[in-house]
């Protein structure tokens, strides 16, 4: 009888010990990604500064926000770390331009990949909270889906009420899929990645956007053209 009790006790102790050792406390430094918004080589300033597109058309920017999702870290050994989450980066909210990730092991990553936008699964998943809360103004109610990027501003070349231009880009279905992949190679063992985001690229590469001809984009028309452009706006610094 005593033996049985003892063995039970022993097993209980073992079980407790195992449950402790099963979750080793990792002391990895958090991984930080910082987004720095630029217009060309100048730091982007909302509303106050005039910028020029490739056609020499002047404009100011009043709003610049976009989704970054599904971060994917690859190390040299081919080991991958996925962060299946969406982040809303907004020029108007300083805190949003800094992504701090715990649980990323301290290793040398040869590339950091992500998508601009929200993947198709999360476009169809119903009510969500946090970055994907429709309250953030990045959700289309009449044609369900997230707006991946908003760039708004003013230009004397736009013959719209208030001279506004408004680019709302989204769409997860073909042929107007605006999800774009970005792959960056940080190259050294650093826990911080600084990314330059150049808004001028949205109007530039590969297609020059004429503010006079295209003052608004809010459905599939011209959306993929701008999406192709915004896939080039990220650069490591």
């Amino acid at each position: 009888m005593k033996k049985i009790i003892h063995s039970f006790l022993y097993m209980a102790i073992l079980w407790v010990a195992m449950s402790f050792s099963a979750k080793p406390e990792r002391n990895d430094q958090p991984f930080t990604i910082l987004f720095h918004h630029y217009a060309g080589n100048e730091i982007l300033k909302l509303d106050s500064v005039n910028y020029k597109n490739e056609l020499g058309q002047t404009f100011t920017v009043s709003k610049f926000k976009y989704y970054i999702s599904n971060l994917h870290f690859k190390n040299a050994a081919g080991k991958d770390v996925f962060v299946n989450e969406s982040f809303l980066i907004n020029e108007d909210e300083e805190d949003s331009k800094k992504i701090v990730l715990k649980n990323i092991p301290e290793e040398n990553y040869i590339s950091v990949d992500f998508i601009i936008g929200v993947d198709s699964l999360h476009n169809c998943s119903g009510a969500q909270s946090g970055a994907l809360d429709p309250i953030n103004g990045m959700f289309w109610a009449w044609n369900s889906g997230y707006i991946f990027l908003k760039l708004e501003g003013k230009s004397p070349f736009c013959k719209t009420p208030g001279n506004f231009f408004e680019y709302h880009i989204g769409g997860y279905k073909q042929p107007s899929n605006c999800i774009r992949k970005v792959s960056l190679q940080p190259g050294q063992k650093s826990r911080t990645v600084n990314i330059k985001v150049n808004v001028l690229e949205i109007l530039k590469t590969p297609t020059t956007i004429d503010l006079e001809k295209i003052p608004t984009v809010n459905d599939h028309r011209n959306a993929t053209t701008i999406a192709d452009n915004y896939s080039n706006m990220f650069e490591l610094i």
């Binding site: 169809c124 969500q128 809360d133 429709p134 109610a141 009449w142 044609n143």
Partner: protein
């Protein structure tokens, strides 16, 4: 004398308290866990919306019901979901062609019935909404419907102590956000399941049909079944059903979303359950009654040039056939659903 007064007061207070608790505990509006069990009717396919990520719970359903019938969702607090989605009409708007909004605004489409929603792969006449949970954002934010913002709805709810209590009961904490608002509404509308019409009972061999109704069913299966597929009476497709463009509305239907030529002026095939109550008919409510609808389908000469080729299958119906079809359509009325107390407006006094 003094004691008598105190005694009377005491009795009055007791009566008042009992009376009060009676109103709160009115069994007609009481929702228990039994009331929110999802039962898939026999013969129905697997639902598309499964409640897997929105686990059914009595207190969440109660919250959804309150929200559904509350004007707080509209900008000037005058219109609720229930204003246009009436229980007696299978949650369509009885005898209203086009939907009503705040400031007496009139919309451009007929209010669709809310029933068997969890079997739909998309919502709205043009299928623009891809998930039951996000559907309410459309009417809440549409300027010709409730013209409100989700942000403001959340703000108003947070200020209302009744709602704070209800959210706590439903979700164990007082967090109020759009996800919870929308998921509660999805529990309330998702459980609107109709499967106990005379037609269903006939199929289950619990009821009989008259000869006219039987002939109507046979005709229906020969002429209408392709689009209005049993048991949901829709194949969830989009079609041009032959009605001509109303140039005052210029509604391009699904084509407005996809801009694909074949989608122009197509609209979702509605399920026909409770069709007796969901009048008027079509996306713009142009037909007053079922007779006009049947006449339309029977009269190919009046059809739009771009109408779905499947309409040819119907041909010309005789007066007798029309009568039989009509009789069959009436068997789709589900009185149990139309009177289901779970979906009644708890603000209405009902004895």
């Amino acid at each position: 004398m003094k004691y008598k007064l105190i005694y009377t007061l005491f009795i009055l207070i007791i009566v008042f308290l009992i009376g009060n608790s009676f109103i709160i505990e009115n069994p007609y509006f009481k929702i228990t866990s039994k009331d929110v069990k999802l039962k898939i009717p026999k013969g129905f396919p697997k639902p598309i919306y499964t409640f897997k990520k929105n686990k059914l719970k009595a207190d969440i359903f109660i919250l959804g019901r309150k929200l559904f019938y509350d004007n707080i969702l509209s900008k000037d607090n005058t219109v609720s979901c229930g204003s246009c989605h009436q229980r007696i009409a299978a949650f369509a708007h009885i005898d209203h062609k086009l939907s009503h909004g705040i400031y007496a605004k009139i919309g451009t489409r007929n209010v669709p019935a809310l029933q068997n929603l969890i079997w739909k792969d998309s919502y709205m006449w043009d299928g623009g909404v891809n998930n039951l949970e996000v559907q309410p954002i459309h009417p809440i934010t549409n300027p010709i419907e409730m013209d409100e913002t989700l942000e403001n709805v959340i703000l108003k709810l947070k200020r209302d102590s009744n709602y704070v209590k209800l959210f706590k009961k439903a979700y164990k904490d007082t967090l109020i956000n759009s996800e919870r608002v929308l998921k509660s509404l999805a529990q309330f509308t998702g459980l609107m399941i109709t499967s106990n019409s005379r037609y269903d009972k006939y199929i289950r061999k619990q009821d009989t049909f008259s000869i006219t109704e039987k002939n109507g069913l046979t005709l229906f299966r020969a002429k209408c079944e392709t689009c209005h597929k049993e048991p949901l009476f829709t194949d969830n497709s989009y079609r041009n059903n032959g009605i001509k463009l109303d140039s005052s509305l210029n509604d391009f239907g699904r084509g407005r979303l996809t801009e694909i030529e074949k989608d122009y002026r197509t609209f979702k095939v509605p399920g026909l359950r409770n069709v007796e109550r969901t009048y008027p008919y079509m996306h713009d409510g142009r037909f007053k009654n079922l007779k006009e609808v049947i006449d339309h389908y029977s009269n190919a000469a009046s059809h739009d040039l771009n109408s779905d080729t499947i309409l040819k299958k119907i041909g010309v119906l005789t007066a007798e056939e029309k009568k039989e079809l009509h009789a069959f359509l009436l068997t789709l009325t589900d009185k149990e659903f139309l009177l289901d107390r779970r979906f009644a407006d708890p603000n209405m006094v009902q004895y």
